[in-house]
């Protein structure tokens, strides 16, 4: 049974049909409009409107002072954003693909995430880093990483990952309103996959809260971002086999919503976690730990994980083999249920 989620009062709220990338664009427009201190920085985000068009039209509307084409320099983008953020601005830094964030890893790891702690709260870094992530669109190599756990291991920064246009807009606005740095991973495979009615005005989706997108009784499926359509398909197929799935879209990867996971697993006694990142070191491990910590006595079967393999994301000729599929998820669901 599909569940409808109403998180805000939509009465009297005009909506517009948007894709995820459209919703991201809309959120940034809104933020630039409502807060003079918001700035957008990145490679090709100005005139070109971003390689995925996420910043389309923004430079034209808000000027080259606020929507800035930077040099090709990720450490520079994040490093100067820190300076801006400490000195009164609210930068939204776009990293063109998550696979190209690593040159800025030092800046994020040592400064973005630690400055508040190092100064006992005197300097803070209210910034957002946006990065498209993931495989499945036949990108050239190195463009398709999904390395969220490199950032969730970094205390001081939050990580969100929407799977719908509604959440994309609401999370991005929440991220910018958050007094602390937030990394928003955008599933590039889902960027234009579907449209959804999205409120015209400003609204937020709470950071740290997952969402139940399907109510079920036999097994809990946990996923986020581009994996949501995969687990939903698997759930439909398992329904036909008489297995009822409870699906959770995690939405925030740090801090994880333990309550929603515990509640669901305590009901179903079984869980299948699906992510496209590698198995080892992937977020699935953290989720298993959460279940271990909160729901040990409820578990009726080992927790299953369906993930990208422990291999570098391959060239695109093999990317479909790397990525979790509904068929693999279905097998794991059956394994959990028939344990």
């Amino acid at each position: 049974m599909e569940m409808e989620v109403k998180e805000i009062q939509r009465e009297n709220t005009a909506t517009q049909l948007l894709t995820i990338v459209g919703a991201v664009n809309d959120a940034m427009k809104m933020l630039l409009e409502s807060d003079e201190s918001v700035m957008i920085l990145g490679e090709d985000i100005g005139k070109n409107g971003g390689v995925f068009r996420a910043t389309e039209g923004l430079q034209e509307k808000f000027g080259t002072d606020r929507v800035v084409d930077t040099p090709l320099s990720e450490a520079g983008i994040i490093g100067t954003s820190i300076g801006l953020a400490v000195n009164g601005f609210k930068p939204i830094a776009e990293i063109q693909f998550l696979g190209f964030i690593y040159p800025a890893y030092e800046q994020i790891m040592t400064h973005v995430s630690r400055l508040r702690m190092r100064t006992m709260g005197h300097y803070t870094v209210p910034m957002v880093i946006r990065a498209p992530y993931g495989a499945g669109i036949r990108s050239p190599e190195i463009h398709s990483d999904s390395t969220e756990s490199l950032f969730t291991h970094m205390p001081g920064i939050k990580v969100v990952c929407p799977s719908t246009p509604y959440d994309a807009k609401g999370l991005l606005i929440a991220a910018m309103e958050d007094p602390d740095p937030v990394l928003m991973l955008e599933p590039m495979k889902s960027y234009r996959a579907k449209r959804e009615e999205v409120p015209v005005g400003k609204y937020t989706v709470e950071i740290g809260k997952g969402k139940r997108v399907r109510e079920g009784t036999d097994v809990t499926l946990i996923a986020w971002g581009a994996m949501m359509p995969i687990v939903e398909k698997a759930a439909q197929q398992s329904e036909k086999k008489g297995i009822s799935c409870d699906i959770i879209d995690l939405r925030t990867l740090y801090p994880i919503d333990r309550e929603i996971i515990a509640e669901s697993v305590q009901k179903t006694g079984r869980a299948v976690i699906v992510h496209e990142a590698h198995l080892t070191g992937g977020l699935g491990n953290d989720i298993i730990s959460i279940i271990n910590d909160t729901s040990f006595l409820y578990l009726r079967a080992p927790i299953e994980r369906v993930t990208g393999f422990d291999v570098p994301v391959p060239f695109f000729a093999l990317e479909e083999d790397f990525l979790p599929t509904p068929a693999r998820v279905l097998e794991s669901i059956e394994k959990a249920v028939h344990f």
Binding site: V51, F100, P103, L279, F315, F316, E319
Partner: protein, 351 residues
């Protein structure tokens, strides 16, 4: 700085020799070799774009307009030199000896496109910008330590100069006196970002000053000046005089990649005055009576056949092997990974 680093040129847009000191060396054989390769990589390039449009190739990075830079520099290399190309330097790779079919395969999402040809040291194209520059410094250092006379060439664009790895690569090479030619193709754009937003320096060549390294600015559409300046820099490198930075000023005629639309960010008439490097060489050849129509017809046919064969081979290439997803991560597969492989292959068998 533009006066301190003037653009060196051997032939001008009309194909006239403007640097008389090279007259002797601009013989017909060299001109023909350059022309043949430029023609060949252009055919490769145009075919790739059309294949991509037909859905027969993945996203592709065209290099039209940069043929003189890529061919001139690649022909300057010695057999055992090392090449560190970017995603746009398949022209240089092909000229140096990479097979066409594998180059097409690369753009079709196949790791086979990164396998170096036998007997040639060609690194896989650098996708993360500027990251290959330290590799080139290291490989060249290794040659030095082995006592050979081999050198390395590292290709990179104007945008790449903004990355930390550009700086660290050049600094290392200069400190080590490693035999590297840092060959910059300044096509004036990094995707949509024009060079004025990329850097405040008037030239890229002047960045060599930071490393106490010679910096040379050349007309990257003049295949002769590319060829001779690259030769000279490589010769210096082989002789223990350390690395050189060459800035080849050129122009990307088309889009950044087939996924890009330059009309969004480039003024329509920008670059219109730039003479195609092939036309320029043709003019020189005609003026110097080494233009042989029969030969042209012959190489055109040859190239056409080569490209067609390569496309056929690429399209009839065995499907990517799922086992390759697992088999090349480590020399010896860890048990965890072996289990993942086994279980996935079993899954596939179950259909």
């Amino acid at each position: 700085m533009e006066t301190q680093f003037p653009i060196k040129r051997i032939i001008d847009d009309e194909g006239n020799v403007v640097d008389a000191s090279y007259c002797e060396q601009l013989h017909g054989e060299l001109a023909k070799e350059l022309y043949y390769h430029m023609k060949r990589i252009r055919a490769f390039d145009r075919k790739a774009i059309s294949l991509q449009r037909q859905g027969r190739l993945g996203t592709y990075a065209p290099m039209e307009g940069q043929e003189a830079s890529q061919v001139g520099s690649a022909l300057a290399l010695g057999q055992d030199d090392w090449m560190f190309p970017t995603y746009r330097d398949h022209g240089a790779k092909l000229t140096f000896g990479a097979p066409m079919v594998e180059t097409y395969l690369y753009w079709n999402g196949r790791a086979e496109g990164c396998v170096p040809p036998v007997g040639k040291n060609i690194f896989p194209p650098a996708v993360p910008i500027a990251t290959q520059l330290p590799h080139a410094a290291g490989a060249a250092w290794a040659e030095m330590r082995k006592g050979t006379r081999n050198a390395a060439i590292a290709y990179f664009g104007d945008g790449a100069t903004s990355e930390g790895d550009f700086h660290e690569g050049l600094n290392f090479a200069s400190v080590l006196k490693a035999p590297v030619l840092f060959f910059n193709q300044n096509n004036r754009y990094a995707i949509s970002v024009p060079i004025e937003k990329q850097m405040n320096s008037e030239t890229i060549a002047q960045k060599a000053v930071a490393y106490g390294m010679p910096g040379v600015r050349i007309d990257g559409n003049d295949c002769f000046s590319v060829y001779f300046e690259a030769k000279k820099a490589l010769e210096d490198a082989r002789n223990g005089r350390g690395p050189t930075l060459i800035e080849a000023v050129t122009w990307r005629t088309g889009a950044h990649t087939t996924a890009d639309d330059p009309s969004k960010y480039r003024p329509e008439d920008q670059g219109k005055e730039i003479v195609d490097p092939l036309v320029r060489l043709e003019r020189f050849m005609k003026k110097n009576s080494c233009w042989d129509e029969a030969w042209i017809v012959e190489i055109e046919a040859l190239i056409k056949a080569e490209v067609e064969t390569a496309v056929e081979e690429m399209e009839s290439y065995p499907k990517a092997n799922v086992e390759d997803l697992f088999d090349h991560v480590f020399a010896k597969m860890p048990t965890q990974l072996a289990e993942q492989k086994e279980s996935y292959l079993a899954h596939l068998k179950r259909g």
